[in-house]
Amino acid sequence: MRILICEDSVLLREGLVRLLEHSGHEVSGAFADTAGVAEAVEQDRPDLCILDVRMPPTFTDEGIRLALDLRARHPQLPVLVLSQYVEERYASELISGQGGAFGYLLKDRVADVAEFVEAVGRIAGGATVLDPEVVAQLLTRRGKDARMDRLTARERTVLAVLAEGRSNQAIAAQLFLSEASVEKHITAIFQKLELDQDESGNRRVLAAIAHIQSAGAAAAPDAQQAPQTRQTGFTS
């Protein structure tokens, strides 16, 4: 597919181009800052945009603002936001903004080449992928919703992985469960959280995330460990 990259660091930009071209994608444009990206998207119609967050001139949240803007203008355009640090607040803004699939991952994840390329594929295919670190942060925000307290520790773990945008199959593999029991857990979660049973795929993730966001919860012990020690799709 055709991918547009916007990243101010030359090393990383070139690395990303090399990596994506190596895995059979085409890079339609590589930008060092946000200027001209919107026009390029209009003209080239890429299948996916990869944006850095901190870029010139202010090095704060340019990438997030650009992502929100692009998603508002092109609801069908998948956007992957890569960042040196992930922030729950940025994720919340992306979730509550307009548009469809998006990804929000740490730059560190690029080092796991195969998994990163796989994630790029899933986002382009309409899935929402959140970095486990963001999910952990979302889970620590406490809210006043008692419904989260109904979940068992196991169900919370499943919900956390679900929020990372994984399929039932992947959740089963990651948590060493059978697919049947994952489905059972998810049904229970959706019942307890009073969510619509028909949600599936990306919409299902968004529903779960939106819920975590609005409710907040004391994190499950698993989600509280340092993310790099957790069994996620991104650990080595």
Partner: protein
Amino acid sequence: MSSEKWAGAPTAPTAGYPQAAQPPHTQQAPQAQPPQTQQTMQAPQAQAPQAQAPQAQAPQAQAPQAQAPQTQQTQARPPRRIALTMLHLAALGLLGWAFFVSAFALLGLGLGLTLVFGIGLLFLVALVYVLFGTAWFETERVDGLYRLGIPALRAVPQRTPGFAGFLRMMWAQLGDGRMWQSIASFTVATFLGLFFLICAQNLVWGAAAAILKLTGGNVAYHPNTGLLLAPFITELPWFAFALVAILCAASMVGLALLHRVLTVWIARAGAEADQAQQLQEAARLSEQQRVGAVRAADVERTRLERDLHDGVQPRLVSVGMTLGLAQQQIDSDPEGAKALISEAHTSTKAAITELRQLARGIHPSVLEDRGLDAALSALAGRSHVPVSLDVRLEGRCSREAETAVYFVIAESLTNAAKHSRASEARVTVRLRDGGTLWARVEDNGVGGARVVPGGGLDGITNRVLAAGGTFRLDSPLGGPTSLEVSVPCAS
């Protein structure tokens, strides 16, 4: 979450930062620097005609009057003000002695019992409170009577925690010049009050005697008569007594005017001395802040260097070595080289993670563009001790305040993870009225946290000092630990 382990609603922290120094009363430009009055200020033009009036009435009062800035509240009209002053004098003449009696009683008890038991200390502390209370009352009384716009007397704040700090505060209060000036003013007013009462008595008796003599009443001397000329009451004519009454009435007015001159003079001198003291205090504080900022930066630099030197650097060196080995082996032992490369890959990722956390610790950019609340999410998410966040902030504070509080919370959580063996921590952040950013970090760990020079808590205290805030650590052995910090929101 076991809620009974935690204290209830957060209590108001004891704010210890000084108010801004009062602008000095300058004779040259009273308009430019209106003194901060406790009452509401009126427009300066309103007083201009009023301010001239008393001078015609009372030439003695010219000196203070000339100094009085024209921006004060409207004073009571002179006759009413003199009447009020007379009331004050009468009241002080009657009741002012209670202060002297209690002060000397406490002093005697305190000194006497300190030699016998330590109980005397209690009396001495009570004495300091009585002294301060009286001085405060006097300041307010004079300010209220003459509308001088002088700032209220403030107690010396406690600078160091604990009982020793309390005693130090008491001692400093005893050495507070402005308090003693107010006490002097009170003493003067009390003696004037005594004379005033004597005059009042003579006025009443003199007038009564004159009227009785005029009407041919029967007057005779009685030893209890409180009249100056009482022994000669049968010989002297009526106008002698009328003269006594008139002289006494005049002295009463005179005493009221004298009271004004003396108390205003003392109050002004006190306020000026107080300003000088406040300026000194402000200078001392800003010096403390500067030292705090410099030290905080030093401590952080040292730690940063150590983190880089002990953590990331050796990791990268080992990655280089592993890759070098793999390069040598790649032809002779491709399988071994693969394993080495995989190892280097893992180490590299670990180094990346470490660098990321290090860099984020130095300066979380989200703090600037989304504020403290947003920045705390990642802190809580990364903490090894499960954290519950309770943040309620409307709007933003200054960058200094937010940064200081952010690092205090970060450091406290790091400490909790390293030393406390806590199973949960709680972070509460509020914006208090009065524009104070207040935060509390609690954990249910083993306690016993102390401030060690160069340690994490030392860094916290320096940061908070640099931001002009206060900080309180409560960590008994056996826990729980709670750390509270207050920083002025807009610095």
